[in-house]
Symmetry: C2
Subunit: 271 residues, 2 copies
Protein backbone atom coordinates (compact mmCIF):
# COMPACT_ATOMS: atom_id res chain seq x y z
CA UNK A 1 0.00 0.00 0.00
CA UNK A 2 1.25 3.45 -0.96
CA UNK A 3 0.26 4.96 2.39
CA UNK A 4 2.16 2.53 4.56
CA UNK A 5 5.26 2.97 2.38
CA UNK A 6 5.05 6.70 2.92
CA UNK A 7 4.69 6.19 6.62
CA UNK A 8 7.98 4.33 6.73
CA UNK A 9 9.85 7.34 5.29
CA UNK A 10 11.09 9.27 8.31
CA UNK A 11 10.04 12.93 8.12
CA UNK A 12 12.20 15.90 7.25
CA UNK A 13 11.57 19.01 9.33
CA UNK A 14 12.17 22.26 7.49
CA UNK A 15 12.33 25.45 9.51
CA UNK A 16 12.06 28.77 7.70
CA UNK A 17 13.21 31.64 9.88
CA UNK A 18 11.11 34.74 10.40
CA UNK A 19 14.09 36.83 9.26
CA UNK A 20 13.85 35.08 5.86
CA UNK A 21 10.16 35.63 5.09
CA UNK A 22 9.80 39.06 6.72
CA UNK A 23 11.86 42.24 6.89
CA UNK A 24 12.69 42.52 10.57
CA UNK A 25 13.57 46.21 10.26
CA UNK A 26 9.90 47.13 9.62
CA UNK A 27 6.82 45.92 11.48
CA UNK A 28 4.42 43.62 9.57
CA UNK A 29 6.65 43.64 6.48
CA UNK A 30 6.34 40.41 4.52
CA UNK A 31 8.85 39.27 1.86
CA UNK A 32 6.31 37.84 -0.55
CA UNK A 33 8.82 37.28 -3.37
CA UNK A 34 10.98 35.17 -1.06
CA UNK A 35 7.94 33.19 0.12
CA UNK A 36 6.95 32.50 -3.49
CA UNK A 37 10.48 31.43 -4.41
CA UNK A 38 10.62 29.10 -1.40
CA UNK A 39 7.22 27.60 -2.34
CA UNK A 40 8.63 26.93 -5.81
CA UNK A 41 11.75 25.28 -4.37
CA UNK A 42 9.68 23.14 -1.98
CA UNK A 43 7.42 22.10 -4.87
CA UNK A 44 10.43 21.28 -7.07
CA UNK A 45 12.07 19.14 -4.37
CA UNK A 46 8.79 17.30 -3.53
CA UNK A 47 10.39 15.79 -0.41
CA UNK A 48 8.39 12.89 1.02
CA UNK A 49 7.06 13.33 4.54
CA UNK A 50 7.95 16.97 4.99
CA UNK A 51 6.85 19.15 7.91
CA UNK A 52 7.41 22.91 7.75
CA UNK A 53 7.69 25.30 10.68
CA UNK A 54 8.10 29.03 10.14
CA UNK A 55 9.03 31.86 12.44
CA UNK A 56 7.28 35.11 13.31
CA UNK A 57 9.78 37.73 12.16
CA UNK A 58 8.40 41.26 12.03
CA UNK A 59 4.84 39.95 12.53
CA UNK A 60 4.98 38.12 15.86
CA UNK A 61 8.04 39.55 17.60
CA UNK A 62 7.38 43.32 17.85
CA UNK A 63 3.83 42.78 19.22
CA UNK A 64 4.94 40.01 21.58
CA UNK A 65 7.63 42.36 22.90
CA UNK A 66 5.33 45.39 23.19
CA UNK A 67 2.84 43.45 25.35
CA UNK A 68 5.43 41.28 27.20
CA UNK A 69 3.63 38.12 26.04
CA UNK A 70 6.58 35.75 26.71
CA UNK A 71 6.53 36.69 30.41
CA UNK A 72 2.87 35.67 30.78
CA UNK A 73 -0.30 37.37 32.00
CA UNK A 74 0.21 40.22 34.45
CA UNK A 75 -2.39 42.85 33.57
CA UNK A 76 -5.62 43.09 31.59
CA UNK A 77 -4.30 45.29 28.78
CA UNK A 78 -2.02 42.44 27.70
CA UNK A 79 -5.08 40.46 26.67
CA UNK A 80 -5.83 42.25 23.41
CA UNK A 81 -2.03 42.19 22.92
CA UNK A 82 -2.15 38.39 23.07
CA UNK A 83 -5.11 38.39 20.65
CA UNK A 84 -3.21 40.66 18.25
CA UNK A 85 0.04 38.69 18.46
CA UNK A 86 -1.73 35.43 17.61
CA UNK A 87 -3.78 37.16 14.93
CA UNK A 88 -0.80 38.64 13.05
CA UNK A 89 0.88 35.23 13.14
CA UNK A 90 -2.18 33.70 11.45
CA UNK A 91 -1.95 36.48 8.84
CA UNK A 92 1.74 35.70 8.11
CA UNK A 93 0.93 31.99 8.02
CA UNK A 94 -1.96 32.72 5.65
CA UNK A 95 0.41 34.44 3.20
CA UNK A 96 2.80 31.48 3.44
CA UNK A 97 -0.06 28.98 2.86
CA UNK A 98 -1.33 31.04 -0.08
CA UNK A 99 2.04 30.62 -1.82
CA UNK A 100 2.29 26.88 -1.12
CA UNK A 101 -1.27 26.14 -2.29
CA UNK A 102 -0.78 28.37 -5.34
CA UNK A 103 2.17 26.09 -6.22
CA UNK A 104 -0.19 23.11 -6.03
CA UNK A 105 1.26 21.77 -2.78
CA UNK A 106 -1.34 20.03 -0.56
CA UNK A 107 -0.27 22.09 2.45
CA UNK A 108 -2.41 22.37 5.58
CA UNK A 109 -1.65 24.72 8.45
CA UNK A 110 -1.76 23.48 12.03
CA UNK A 111 -2.36 26.33 14.48
CA UNK A 112 -0.05 25.71 17.47
CA UNK A 113 -2.22 27.65 19.95
CA UNK A 114 -5.24 25.48 19.03
CA UNK A 115 -3.56 22.15 19.88
CA UNK A 116 -0.72 23.00 22.29
CA UNK A 117 -0.71 24.19 25.89
CA UNK A 118 2.62 25.02 27.52
CA UNK A 119 3.66 25.02 31.19
CA UNK A 120 6.15 27.76 32.02
CA UNK A 121 6.90 28.09 28.32
CA UNK A 122 7.58 24.41 27.60
CA UNK A 123 5.09 22.18 25.76
CA UNK A 124 2.83 20.42 28.27
CA UNK A 125 0.22 18.89 25.95
CA UNK A 126 0.18 18.62 22.18
CA UNK A 127 -2.82 17.06 20.41
CA UNK A 128 -1.13 15.50 17.41
CA UNK A 129 -3.99 13.38 16.00
CA UNK A 130 -4.65 15.78 13.07
CA UNK A 131 -0.91 15.98 12.31
CA UNK A 132 -0.59 12.18 12.24
CA UNK A 133 -3.42 11.84 9.71
CA UNK A 134 -1.94 14.65 7.59
CA UNK A 135 1.41 12.82 7.43
CA UNK A 136 -0.25 9.46 6.74
CA UNK A 137 -2.14 11.02 3.83
CA UNK A 138 1.02 12.75 2.52
CA UNK A 139 -0.22 16.27 3.13
CA UNK A 140 2.38 18.90 4.01
CA UNK A 141 1.69 20.18 7.54
CA UNK A 142 2.82 23.73 8.30
CA UNK A 143 3.25 25.03 11.86
CA UNK A 144 4.64 28.31 13.16
CA UNK A 145 5.89 30.16 16.21
CA UNK A 146 2.74 31.32 18.00
CA UNK A 147 1.24 33.02 21.05
CA UNK A 148 -0.09 30.08 23.08
CA UNK A 149 -1.98 29.42 26.33
CA UNK A 150 0.14 28.36 29.29
CA UNK A 151 -1.18 26.45 32.32
CA UNK A 152 1.08 28.41 34.71
CA UNK A 153 1.67 31.78 33.01
CA UNK A 154 -1.76 32.22 31.39
CA UNK A 155 -0.08 32.70 28.03
CA UNK A 156 3.37 32.89 26.49
CA UNK A 157 5.19 32.55 23.15
CA UNK A 158 6.29 29.24 21.70
CA UNK A 159 9.18 29.58 19.27
CA UNK A 160 9.28 27.82 15.93
CA UNK A 161 12.54 26.30 17.16
CA UNK A 162 10.88 24.61 20.15
CA UNK A 163 8.27 23.22 17.72
CA UNK A 164 10.99 21.91 15.40
CA UNK A 165 12.66 20.15 18.30
CA UNK A 166 9.51 18.48 19.66
CA UNK A 167 8.28 17.47 16.18
CA UNK A 168 11.66 15.97 15.29
CA UNK A 169 11.69 13.81 18.43
CA UNK A 170 7.95 12.96 18.32
CA UNK A 171 8.10 11.78 14.70
CA UNK A 172 11.67 10.46 14.81
CA UNK A 173 12.79 12.80 12.02
CA UNK A 174 15.37 11.77 9.44
CA UNK A 175 16.89 15.27 9.51
CA UNK A 176 16.27 18.92 10.26
CA UNK A 177 16.98 21.74 7.83
CA UNK A 178 17.03 25.24 9.28
CA UNK A 179 16.75 28.08 6.78
CA UNK A 180 18.15 31.36 8.11
CA UNK A 181 19.40 34.67 6.65
CA UNK A 182 23.11 33.86 7.05
CA UNK A 183 25.18 31.07 5.49
CA UNK A 184 25.41 28.89 8.59
CA UNK A 185 26.54 28.89 12.20
CA UNK A 186 29.44 31.22 13.03
CA UNK A 187 31.72 31.62 16.06
CA UNK A 188 30.56 35.26 16.31
CA UNK A 189 27.62 37.25 14.94
CA UNK A 190 28.46 37.44 11.19
CA UNK A 191 26.30 40.56 10.80
CA UNK A 192 28.37 42.43 13.43
CA UNK A 193 31.84 40.87 13.12
CA UNK A 194 33.51 40.65 9.71
CA UNK A 195 36.08 38.22 11.11
CA UNK A 196 33.35 35.73 12.12
CA UNK A 197 34.28 32.18 11.09
CA UNK A 198 31.62 29.81 9.77
CA UNK A 199 31.62 26.14 10.75
CA UNK A 200 31.13 23.53 8.02
CA UNK A 201 30.68 20.73 10.53
CA UNK A 202 30.08 20.72 14.25
CA UNK A 203 29.76 17.88 16.75
CA UNK A 204 27.42 18.02 19.74
CA UNK A 205 30.39 18.55 22.04
CA UNK A 206 31.67 21.51 20.02
CA UNK A 207 28.14 22.95 19.76
CA UNK A 208 27.74 22.88 23.55
CA UNK A 209 31.00 24.78 23.99
CA UNK A 210 29.98 27.29 21.33
CA UNK A 211 26.56 27.78 22.92
CA UNK A 212 28.01 29.05 26.17
CA UNK A 213 30.05 31.59 24.17
CA UNK A 214 27.26 32.86 21.85
CA UNK A 215 25.97 36.32 22.62
CA UNK A 216 22.45 36.66 23.96
CA UNK A 217 20.27 38.28 21.29
CA UNK A 218 20.30 42.03 21.00
CA UNK A 219 17.63 42.53 18.31
CA UNK A 220 13.96 42.07 18.97
CA UNK A 221 13.72 38.29 18.71
CA UNK A 222 11.60 37.42 21.75
CA UNK A 223 12.52 33.76 21.41
CA UNK A 224 16.26 34.16 21.65
CA UNK A 225 17.76 34.39 18.14
CA UNK A 226 20.68 32.06 17.34
CA UNK A 227 21.36 31.52 21.06
CA UNK A 228 17.83 30.23 21.63
CA UNK A 229 17.96 28.26 18.38
CA UNK A 230 21.08 26.36 19.46
CA UNK A 231 19.62 25.69 22.92
CA UNK A 232 16.56 24.07 21.29
CA UNK A 233 18.77 22.00 18.97
CA UNK A 234 20.86 20.30 21.67
CA UNK A 235 18.28 17.60 22.57
CA UNK A 236 17.56 16.65 18.93
CA UNK A 237 21.26 16.31 18.14
CA UNK A 238 21.66 14.26 21.32
CA UNK A 239 18.85 12.13 19.84
CA UNK A 240 20.99 11.52 16.74
CA UNK A 241 19.04 13.72 14.30
CA UNK A 242 21.41 15.71 12.05
CA UNK A 243 20.76 19.43 11.60
CA UNK A 244 21.71 21.51 8.56
CA UNK A 245 21.74 25.29 8.89
CA UNK A 246 21.50 26.92 5.47
CA UNK A 247 20.88 30.35 3.94
CA UNK A 248 17.22 30.43 2.80
CA UNK A 249 17.54 33.95 1.36
CA UNK A 250 19.81 32.60 -1.43
CA UNK A 251 18.01 31.00 -4.40
CA UNK A 252 18.03 27.19 -4.51
CA UNK A 253 19.90 26.69 -1.21
CA UNK A 254 16.76 25.26 0.43
CA UNK A 255 16.02 23.23 -2.71
CA UNK A 256 19.54 21.75 -2.68
CA UNK A 257 19.39 21.06 1.07
CA UNK A 258 16.01 19.28 0.65
CA UNK A 259 17.43 17.22 -2.22
CA UNK A 260 20.48 16.32 -0.14
CA UNK A 261 22.78 18.02 -2.66
CA UNK A 262 25.98 19.87 -1.80
CA UNK A 263 25.30 23.42 -0.61
CA UNK A 264 27.17 25.90 1.61
CA UNK A 265 25.86 25.23 5.14
CA UNK A 266 26.70 24.13 8.66
CA UNK A 267 26.01 20.48 9.40
CA UNK A 268 25.67 19.50 13.05
CA UNK A 269 25.85 15.83 14.01
CA UNK A 270 26.04 13.88 17.26
CA UNK A 271 29.68 12.90 16.77
Amino acid sequence: MKESRLRRVKPTILKIGGSVITDKSKELQVRMQTINRLAEEIHKASTKNLIIVHGGGSFGHPLAQRYSIVEGFKEDKQKTGFSETHHVMTVLNGLFMDALIWHNIPAVSITPSSCIVTKNGRIQCFEDAPLKILLKMAFLPVLYGDAVLDSKLGFTIISGDQLVSILAIKFNAERIIIGVDVDGLYDEDPKAEKSAKMFKYLTLEKLKKLHSKLDKPTTYDVTGGMFGKVAELLPVIEHGIPVTIVNATKPNYIYKALEGRKVKSTLIGKE
Copy 2:
Protein backbone atom coordinates in the same frame (compact mmCIF):
# COMPACT_ATOMS: atom_id res chain seq x y z
CA MET B 1 -11.18 35.81 42.87
CA LYS B 2 -12.46 37.34 39.68
CA GLU B 3 -11.46 34.34 37.60
CA SER B 4 -13.36 31.75 39.59
CA ARG B 5 -16.46 33.96 39.58
CA LEU B 6 -16.25 34.14 35.80
CA ARG B 7 -15.92 30.41 35.62
CA ARG B 8 -19.21 29.97 37.40
CA VAL B 9 -21.06 31.97 34.73
CA LYS B 10 -22.32 29.38 32.25
CA PRO B 11 -21.25 30.24 28.70
CA THR B 12 -23.38 31.66 25.92
CA ILE B 13 -22.73 30.18 22.49
CA LEU B 14 -23.30 32.60 19.62
CA LYS B 15 -23.44 31.19 16.10
CA ILE B 16 -23.13 33.59 13.18
CA GLY B 17 -24.28 31.96 9.95
CA GLY B 18 -22.16 32.01 6.82
CA SER B 19 -25.11 33.55 4.97
CA VAL B 20 -24.87 36.57 7.30
CA ILE B 21 -21.17 37.39 6.93
CA THR B 22 -20.79 36.41 3.26
CA ASP B 23 -22.82 36.86 0.11
CA LYS B 24 -23.68 33.29 -0.85
CA SER B 25 -24.53 34.28 -4.42
CA LYS B 26 -20.85 35.04 -5.20
CA GLU B 27 -17.79 32.97 -4.32
CA LEU B 28 -15.40 34.42 -1.69
CA GLN B 29 -17.61 37.47 -1.16
CA VAL B 30 -17.31 38.81 2.37
CA ARG B 31 -19.80 41.24 3.95
CA MET B 32 -17.25 43.32 5.82
CA GLN B 33 -19.74 46.01 6.86
CA THR B 34 -21.95 43.38 8.50
CA ILE B 35 -18.94 41.82 10.25
CA ASN B 36 -17.91 45.24 11.60
CA ARG B 37 -21.46 45.97 12.80
CA LEU B 38 -21.64 42.59 14.54
CA ALA B 39 -18.25 43.21 16.21
CA GLU B 40 -19.62 46.50 17.50
CA GLU B 41 -22.78 44.82 18.83
CA ILE B 42 -20.73 42.06 20.51
CA HIS B 43 -18.45 44.68 22.08
CA LYS B 44 -21.45 46.72 23.26
CA ALA B 45 -23.13 43.70 24.87
CA SER B 46 -19.87 42.48 26.54
CA THR B 47 -21.51 39.16 27.42
CA LYS B 48 -19.55 37.23 30.05
CA ASN B 49 -18.22 33.83 28.98
CA LEU B 50 -19.09 34.04 25.31
CA ILE B 51 -18.00 31.57 22.63
CA ILE B 52 -18.53 32.42 18.97
CA VAL B 53 -18.82 29.98 16.08
CA HIS B 54 -19.18 31.20 12.50
CA GLY B 55 -20.11 29.45 9.29
CA GLY B 56 -18.33 29.19 5.95
CA GLY B 57 -20.81 30.84 3.57
CA SER B 58 -19.40 31.60 0.14
CA PHE B 59 -15.85 30.84 1.37
CA GLY B 60 -16.03 27.22 2.55
CA HIS B 61 -19.10 25.80 0.81
CA PRO B 62 -18.39 26.25 -2.93
CA LEU B 63 -14.87 24.78 -2.64
CA ALA B 64 -16.01 21.96 -0.36
CA GLN B 65 -18.69 21.10 -2.91
CA ARG B 66 -16.37 21.36 -5.93
CA TYR B 67 -13.91 18.86 -4.42
CA SER B 68 -16.53 16.67 -2.63
CA ILE B 69 -14.75 17.20 0.69
CA VAL B 70 -17.72 16.13 2.86
CA GLU B 71 -17.69 12.68 1.26
CA GLY B 72 -14.04 12.10 2.23
CA PHE B 73 -10.87 11.17 0.37
CA LYS B 74 -11.39 9.29 -2.91
CA GLU B 75 -8.75 10.63 -5.30
CA ASP B 76 -5.50 12.58 -5.15
CA LYS B 77 -6.78 15.75 -6.81
CA GLN B 78 -9.07 16.31 -3.81
CA LYS B 79 -6.03 16.95 -1.66
CA THR B 80 -5.24 20.46 -2.82
CA GLY B 81 -9.03 20.96 -2.69
CA PHE B 82 -8.95 20.11 0.99
CA SER B 83 -5.98 22.48 1.48
CA GLU B 84 -7.84 25.27 -0.33
CA THR B 85 -11.10 24.73 1.55
CA HIS B 86 -9.37 24.95 4.92
CA HIS B 87 -7.28 27.88 3.73
CA VAL B 88 -10.24 30.03 2.60
CA MET B 89 -11.95 29.32 5.93
CA THR B 90 -8.89 30.68 7.75
CA VAL B 91 -9.08 33.75 5.50
CA LEU B 92 -12.75 34.36 6.36
CA ASN B 93 -11.99 33.77 10.04
CA GLY B 94 -9.07 36.21 9.77
CA LEU B 95 -11.41 38.95 8.52
CA PHE B 96 -13.83 38.20 11.37
CA MET B 97 -11.00 38.28 13.95
CA ASP B 98 -9.69 41.54 12.47
CA ALA B 99 -13.04 43.21 13.18
CA LEU B 100 -13.32 41.82 16.73
CA ILE B 101 -9.76 42.82 17.70
CA TRP B 102 -10.22 46.24 16.05
CA HIS B 103 -13.16 46.69 18.45
CA ASN B 104 -10.82 45.94 21.36
CA ILE B 105 -12.32 42.52 22.06
CA PRO B 106 -9.76 39.98 23.38
CA ALA B 107 -10.83 37.42 20.80
CA VAL B 108 -8.71 34.37 19.97
CA SER B 109 -9.47 31.98 17.13
CA ILE B 110 -9.38 28.23 17.69
CA THR B 111 -8.78 26.34 14.43
CA PRO B 112 -11.11 23.31 14.49
CA SER B 113 -8.94 21.21 12.14
CA SER B 114 -5.95 21.69 14.45
CA CYS B 115 -7.65 20.26 17.55
CA ILE B 116 -10.49 18.07 16.26
CA VAL B 117 -10.52 14.75 14.43
CA THR B 118 -13.86 13.33 13.29
CA LYS B 119 -14.92 9.74 12.62
CA ASN B 120 -17.39 9.45 9.75
CA GLY B 121 -18.10 13.15 10.09
CA ARG B 122 -18.81 13.19 13.83
CA ILE B 123 -16.32 14.57 16.38
CA GLN B 124 -14.11 11.75 17.69
CA CYS B 125 -11.48 13.73 19.62
CA PHE B 126 -11.42 17.38 20.58
CA GLU B 127 -8.43 18.80 22.47
CA ASP B 128 -10.12 21.48 24.54
CA ALA B 129 -7.26 22.45 26.90
CA PRO B 130 -6.55 25.78 25.09
CA LEU B 131 -10.29 26.59 25.01
CA LYS B 132 -10.65 25.95 28.75
CA ILE B 133 -7.79 28.35 29.56
CA LEU B 134 -9.24 30.97 27.18
CA LEU B 135 -12.61 30.81 28.99
CA LYS B 136 -10.98 30.87 32.44
CA MET B 137 -9.05 34.01 31.44
CA ALA B 138 -12.19 35.65 29.97
CA PHE B 139 -10.91 35.68 26.39
CA LEU B 140 -13.51 35.31 23.63
CA PRO B 141 -12.82 32.07 21.73
CA VAL B 142 -13.93 31.98 18.09
CA LEU B 143 -14.37 28.72 16.15
CA TYR B 144 -15.75 28.05 12.69
CA GLY B 145 -17.00 25.42 10.29
CA ASP B 146 -13.86 23.84 8.84
CA ALA B 147 -12.37 21.15 6.64
CA VAL B 148 -11.08 18.59 9.16
CA LEU B 149 -9.22 15.28 9.21
CA ASP B 150 -11.38 12.18 9.69
CA SER B 151 -10.08 8.85 11.03
CA LYS B 152 -12.33 6.87 8.65
CA LEU B 153 -12.87 9.16 5.65
CA GLY B 154 -9.44 10.82 5.54
CA PHE B 155 -11.09 14.21 5.68
CA THR B 156 -14.53 15.80 5.74
CA ILE B 157 -16.33 19.01 6.69
CA ILE B 158 -17.45 19.85 10.19
CA SER B 159 -20.32 22.33 10.28
CA GLY B 160 -20.40 25.28 12.62
CA ASP B 161 -23.70 23.83 13.87
CA GLN B 162 -22.06 20.58 15.00
CA LEU B 163 -19.45 22.67 16.82
CA VAL B 164 -22.17 24.73 18.53
CA SER B 165 -23.88 21.58 19.70
CA ILE B 166 -20.74 19.90 21.12
CA LEU B 167 -19.50 23.13 22.76
CA ALA B 168 -22.88 23.76 24.38
CA ILE B 169 -22.96 20.29 25.93
CA LYS B 170 -19.22 20.19 26.82
CA PHE B 171 -19.36 23.55 28.64
CA ASN B 172 -22.94 23.22 29.90
CA ALA B 173 -24.03 26.40 28.10
CA GLU B 174 -26.60 28.78 29.53
CA ARG B 175 -28.10 29.36 26.09
CA ILE B 176 -27.44 29.29 22.37
CA ILE B 177 -28.10 32.21 20.02
CA ILE B 178 -28.14 31.42 16.32
CA GLY B 179 -27.81 34.40 13.99
CA VAL B 180 -29.20 33.69 10.51
CA ASP B 181 -30.41 35.74 7.53
CA VAL B 182 -34.14 35.26 8.22
CA ASP B 183 -36.22 36.29 11.24
CA GLY B 184 -36.49 32.85 12.81
CA LEU B 185 -37.64 29.30 12.13
CA TYR B 186 -40.54 28.93 9.67
CA ASP B 187 -42.84 26.06 8.72
CA GLU B 188 -41.66 26.47 5.10
CA ASP B 189 -38.67 28.16 3.41
CA PRO B 190 -39.51 31.87 3.89
CA LYS B 191 -37.32 32.82 0.91
CA ALA B 192 -39.39 30.59 -1.41
CA GLU B 193 -42.87 30.64 0.14
CA LYS B 194 -44.52 33.96 0.97
CA SER B 195 -47.12 32.15 3.10
CA ALA B 196 -44.39 30.68 5.37
CA LYS B 197 -45.34 31.04 9.03
CA MET B 198 -42.69 31.88 11.63
CA PHE B 199 -42.71 30.26 15.08
CA LYS B 200 -42.23 32.46 18.14
CA TYR B 201 -41.85 29.49 20.44
CA LEU B 202 -41.26 25.82 19.76
CA THR B 203 -40.98 22.84 22.08
CA LEU B 204 -38.65 19.92 21.42
CA GLU B 205 -41.64 17.76 20.44
CA LYS B 206 -42.88 20.30 17.89
CA LEU B 207 -39.34 20.79 16.56
CA LYS B 208 -38.96 17.05 15.95
CA LYS B 209 -42.22 17.00 13.97
CA LEU B 210 -41.16 20.06 12.00
CA HIS B 211 -37.73 18.58 11.27
CA SER B 212 -39.21 15.63 9.41
CA LYS B 213 -41.21 18.06 7.26
CA LEU B 214 -38.39 20.54 6.44
CA ASP B 215 -37.09 20.40 2.90
CA LYS B 216 -33.59 19.11 2.36
CA PRO B 217 -31.41 22.03 1.29
CA THR B 218 -31.40 23.01 -2.36
CA THR B 219 -28.72 25.71 -2.33
CA TYR B 220 -25.03 24.94 -1.99
CA ASP B 221 -24.82 24.51 1.77
CA VAL B 222 -22.72 21.36 2.11
CA THR B 223 -23.65 21.02 5.77
CA GLY B 224 -27.40 20.89 5.30
CA GLY B 225 -28.86 24.41 5.70
CA MET B 226 -31.82 24.79 8.10
CA PHE B 227 -32.51 21.03 7.95
CA GLY B 228 -28.98 20.21 9.13
CA LYS B 229 -29.12 23.04 11.68
CA VAL B 230 -32.26 21.66 13.33
CA ALA B 231 -30.83 18.12 13.37
CA GLU B 232 -27.77 19.38 15.28
CA LEU B 233 -29.98 21.33 17.71
CA LEU B 234 -32.10 18.37 18.86
CA PRO B 235 -29.55 16.97 21.39
CA VAL B 236 -28.81 20.36 23.00
CA ILE B 237 -32.51 21.11 23.45
CA GLU B 238 -32.96 17.60 24.86
CA HIS B 239 -30.16 18.63 27.26
CA GLY B 240 -32.27 21.59 28.42
CA ILE B 241 -30.28 24.38 26.72
CA PRO B 242 -32.62 26.98 25.15
CA VAL B 243 -31.94 28.10 21.59
CA THR B 244 -32.85 31.49 20.09
CA ILE B 245 -32.86 31.86 16.31
CA VAL B 246 -32.56 35.51 15.34
CA ASN B 247 -31.91 37.65 12.26
CA ALA B 248 -28.25 38.76 12.41
CA THR B 249 -28.53 40.82 9.22
CA LYS B 250 -30.78 43.33 11.03
CA PRO B 251 -28.98 45.94 13.17
CA ASN B 252 -29.04 45.35 16.94
CA TYR B 253 -30.92 42.04 16.80
CA ILE B 254 -27.80 40.13 17.93
CA TYR B 255 -27.07 42.84 20.51
CA LYS B 256 -30.60 42.56 21.94
CA ALA B 257 -30.47 38.76 21.93
CA LEU B 258 -27.12 38.80 23.78
CA GLU B 259 -28.55 41.26 26.32
CA GLY B 260 -31.62 39.07 26.81
CA ARG B 261 -33.88 41.87 25.57
CA LYS B 262 -37.06 41.39 23.58
CA VAL B 263 -36.36 40.87 19.87
CA LYS B 264 -38.21 39.18 17.00
CA SER B 265 -36.95 35.57 17.04
CA THR B 266 -37.82 31.91 17.46
CA LEU B 267 -37.15 30.50 20.90
CA ILE B 268 -36.85 26.73 21.21
CA GLY B 269 -37.08 25.13 24.64
CA LYS B 270 -37.31 21.59 25.95
CA GLU B 271 -40.94 21.92 26.99
